[in-house]
Symmetry: C2
Subunit: 126 residues, 2 copies
DNA sequence: ATAATTGCAAACAGTTTGCCCCTAT
DNA sequence: ATAGGGGCAAACTGTTTGCAATTAT
């Protein structure tokens, strides 16, 4: 991943312009305007490689294609099970706030969640 | 969804026994021990219906089949990739705290995370 | 009789892969 | 000439759906 091909550069730049979380196909259609011969497979291949190298991140949603996110740090997402939209949540939310229907969650219905961190505990981390 | 078939009951009961997040296929194999003629399609159909009715929830993760979760509320976990231990996280942790290596996370190494909420956005929720 | 649900298999959607060609070192 | 992609289409995987048969009310 040292020298980016025209295709990889374009896929990445197109994603970086987004403030939302587009699908591979969204990006494919956009990139095709600049590089009409690009194939969907190439878009997938590059998104995969970029995600593996930590340049971007990939978000999965039930009943909807995966989405890609230029923001790679740890940050919480809200995923609408109605329309599949992915929204970023404020960093400082807490579980009691989510449960309590206050703040950001006022008027939003929460059906479920996953909140898991992977790492090494004190014993294993030494 | 008023009267549960034997199949639906068994799928739900099997999921409820789990403390982790099994895939449809995991559940299929378990349920088949009690009801050998059950089909994978039926397991999928029932999981889908149960999730639509808010009885259980469905979780997607990149590069892996969807998982199902009997819990309705938020339940943050820390999973040690060294020894597999699962620890409960305090409800009031925030992302800045996780990033900042303070509080609960002092001295613990975080490799990855999933923090996603599922629900209806304001547009879909009305 | 009606409505819901099953097992099976085929269909489907999103994603990945194999192949061969093309470009850049 | 070697390595790394690209384009295309076929393959693969997880999930859904159509259908005829079955079950419960």
């Amino acid at each position: 991943m040292k020298n980016f091909s025209r295709q990889r550069t374009l896929v990445l730049e197109t994603l970086l312009k987004h403030r939302d979380h587009p699908t591979a196909d969204d990006l494919y259609r956009e990139v095709k305007e600049d590089l009409p011969q690009i194939s969907l497979g190439t878009v997938y291949r590059n998104l995969k490689k970029l995600a593996e190298n930590g340049v971007i991140s990939r978000i999965s949603v039930p009943d909807s294609p995966d989405r890609y996110d230029p923001h790679t740090g740890m940050h919480p997402h809200f995923i609408c099970t109605g329309c599949g939209t992915v929204e970023d949540l404020p960093d400082d939310i807490t579980v009691p706030e989510i449960r309590g229907d206050s703040g950001w969650f006022k008027g939003r219905e929460i059906h479920g969640s996953v909140f898991q961190l992977y790492g090494l505990c004190r014993k294993c981390g030494k």
